[in-house]
Amino acid sequence: MEAVSNSSTEKSKLQWFEQLQSPLLHYSFGILRDSEEAKDLVQEAFLKFFNEEQKIHHPKAWLYSTTRNLSLSRLRKKNRMILDDGIRQLDLFSITDDYKEENPREQLEQKEKIYRVKHAVSQLPADSQNLLKMKFHKRMSYREISESLKISVGNVGYKLHQTIRDLAFELENEGVVE
C-alpha cells in the first residue's frame, strides 16, 4: 500500500515529506534536544529517501528508521565530544551517568526504543492513546475500562488488540523489534 518505487512520481515523495516532516522533526528533536540539528537530520533523511534507488516498501518505517539512525549517530558523536571535553551532558539520552556501566550503547538504544514507542503512541488518535494509558499506566481491567468508556468489554479487547497490533507492525517494520 505505502510502497514507493523508482517510478513513483515526485508528488508521492512530496506527500511523504508533507505527512511526516513534522512528526519526524519532533521525533529527532526528542532524541537530540536541538531543533536545528533535528532539522538537519530530517532533511538528510528525506534527501536519502529522494535519492534511494531501491524500492522502498514501507516509506514511513524507512524514514523513521533512517531518522533514528542519523539522530543516534549524531548523539553518540556529541556525547563523545562532550566526554572528551570532560563536560557532563544532561539530556534525555545522555549516557554520561551510565558511562561507566558495561553497555552504554545498548542502554542508549533501549531508551530510544521506549521513546520511539512513546512517540508512536503520541501520534495515535486520542481515544487509542487513552485506551493504552488505561491499560498500561493506570492498570485498569477490561471491565473497568469498559465502564469508564461506556463500551462493551469485548469492544475494549478488540480495540486494544488492534492498537497493539498496529504498533507492533510499525515497530517491526522499522526494525525496533525483531
Binding site: 513534522s22 522533526l25 531543533s35 488518535p125 498500561f136 499506566h137 497493539i164
Partner: protein, 375 residues
C-alpha cells in the same frame, strides 16, 4: 496472499491474547505447543513480546514524552523550498532509472517554485475559525480554496489560480496581514494542495493516499453524491469552510428550527477548529441540543476513521436557503436512539454550543436555532 495475511493476523491475535494472559489453560497449552514446533509462531511470539515489553515500559509513566515546548518545530518556507529544490536536483527526480528524463519530473521543476510563488501571491487572509476576532473580521480569516481545470497546463493553471483568486478576493486579502490560503490543483494526473499559513509560512497539504479528507472535501456543497475528487476533476471552483460561491443568494432567515438542518438532505461537513475539513457526515437526527452523526467516505477501512473527543465545527449547507456553522464538542454517542455503533462506523454526538449563519457577504452572523426540549 490474502490467506497468508489472514493466517498471520489470526496468529498474532492468538499470541497477543496469550501474552496478555487472556486465554484459558487449553488455549495456552496449544499456543505454547505451536511456538515450540513452528518457527513462524516462535518468531512472532518473540516480536510481540518485545513490543509488549516496550509498551509496558513506555506506559509506566503514562507515555509522557517529557519534551520541552517548542513553538514551531517546522521547516520554514525557505527551508521547504530548499528541500524541494534539492529534490529537483536528486538523480531520481530528474531521471528515470534508465537515465531518461521523466517529463513529469521536468514539469515539477517548474511548478514547485511556481506553486510556492502562487501561494505567496494569493494574499489570502482567511484564518482559523476559532479566533476571537469580531464577526466583521471573520471573513478575512476564512480559507480560500480554488480548484482548477485539470485540462489546464500546470504552469498556466497555477498562474491562473493565483490571478483568479487575487481577483476574487483581492480587496479582502489586501487587508489581511496573515491568514491561510489553499490552492487545490489537479492536472495531468497530479494532485496538489498548497496551503499558505500564517502569512509568511507556506505549507503543502496533500491528501495522502486519498484516505484523509482535506479541505478539498469542503468542495462538497450542493450535491451530496458528488465526491470531492469528482468536484476537482470537474474543475468546479468551490469554497472552503466559511466561503461560498459568489453567485449564492442571500440567506434571509434569522431563525431556524433544528428540523431545518436535516431537510431536504441530511448531509453536513465536519471541520476541525482550524478549518481543516474532516469530510462529509451523515446527520442522523437530534435530541435536545445534540446532533447525532456518522462520518462518510471511509476510503480505507483498514485505517482508523475514529474521531477523538474534542471540539469541532459542523457546516450545514442548504444551497440558497442557508449555510450554518455550528461549534460544539464531539463524543461517541451514548444515546439509545443512536447507539454507539451504527453499522460499519461509529455514531457520534455533537453537542451544539455556538451557531452562526453565513450572511451574503460571507460574514458570520449569530443565528438562533430552536432545538426541541429534551423529553
Amino acid at each position: 496472499m490474502n490467506l497468508e495475511f489472514e493466517e498471520q493476523s489470526n496468529r498474532r491475535e492468538r499470541l497477543l491474547r496469550y501474552l496478555l494472559d487472556e486465554v484459558d489453560a487449553e488455549e495456552k497449552f496449544e499456543i505454547e505447543k505451536l511456538c515450540n514446533l513452528e518457527e513462524e509462531w516462535k518468531r512472532e511470539k518473540r516480536t510481540l513480546s518485545q513490543c509488549l515489553a516496550l509498551i509496558e515500559e513506555a506506559g509506566a509513566d503514562g507515555f509522557e514524552l517529557d519534551l520541552p515546548e517548542i513553538e514551531s518545530l517546522q521547516f520554514s518556507p525557505g527551508e521547504k523550498e530548499e528541500i524541494a529544490n534539492l529534490l529537483n536536483e536528486s538523480p531520481e527526480s530528474s531521471q528515470t532509472p534508465q537515465g531518461k528524463v521523466d517529463p513529469k519530473n521536468k514539469n515539477l521543476q517548474y511548478w514547485i517554485p511556481l506553486m510556492v510563488a502562487a501561494a505567496a501571491s494569493v494574499v489570502a487572509y482567511f484564518g482559523t475559525m476559532e479566533t476571537t476576532t469580531g464577526p466583521s473580521e471573520r471573513l478575512e480569516e476564512e480559507k480560500l480554496l480554488v480548484a482548477l481545470d485539470p485540462n489546464m497546463g500546470d504552469r498556466q493553471a497555477v498562474s491562473e489560480a493565483a490571478s483568479s483568486s487575487n481577483d476574487e478576493f483581492g480587496s479582502d486579502s489586501s487587508e489581511s496581514p496573515q491568514g491561510k490560503a489553499v490552492i487545490a490543483f489537479q492536472g495531468q494526473g497530479s494532485e496538489l494542495a498548497a496551503k499558505s499559513a500564517s502569512g509568511s509560512e507556506a505549507r503543502t497539504d496533500f491528501d495522502i493516499e486519498g484516505k484523509r479528507m482535506t479541505s478539498i472535501s469542503a468542495l462538497l456543497r450542493d450535491d451530496p453524491n458528488l465526491t470531492a475528487e469528482a468536484s476537482v476533476e470537474a474543475g468546479k471552483a468551490v469554497p472552503a469552510l466559511g466561503l461560498r460561491q459568489a453567485q449564492a443568494a442571500p440567506y434571509s432567515k434569522s431563525k431556524l428550527d433544528a428540523a431545518d438542518l436535516f431537510a431536504p438532505k441530511n448531509i453536513g461537513y465536519l471541520h476541525q477548529l482550524d478549518g481543516d475539513s474532516l469530510g462529509r457526515i451523515l446527520l442522523l437526527g437530534n435530541h435536545g441540543k445534540s446532533i447525532f452523526f456518522r462520518r462518510m467516505d471511509w476510503v480505507d477501512p483498514e485505517k482508523s476513521f475514529a474521531l477523538g473527543v474534542g471540539d469541532y465545527q459542523m457546516r450545514i449547507d442548504r444551497g440558497n436557503d442557508f449555510v450554518v456553522l455550528l461549534e460544539g464538542s464531539v463524543r461517541k454517542s451514548v444515546d439509545q436512539n443512536f447507539p454507539e455503533t451504527g453499522g460499519e462506523t461509529q455514531n457520534y454526538q455533537f453537542i451544539v454550543r455556538k451557531t452562526w449563519k453565513l450572511a451574503e457577504n460571507e460574514k458570520r452572523r449569530p443565528i438562533e436555532i430552536t432545538f426541541p426540549p429534551l423529553d
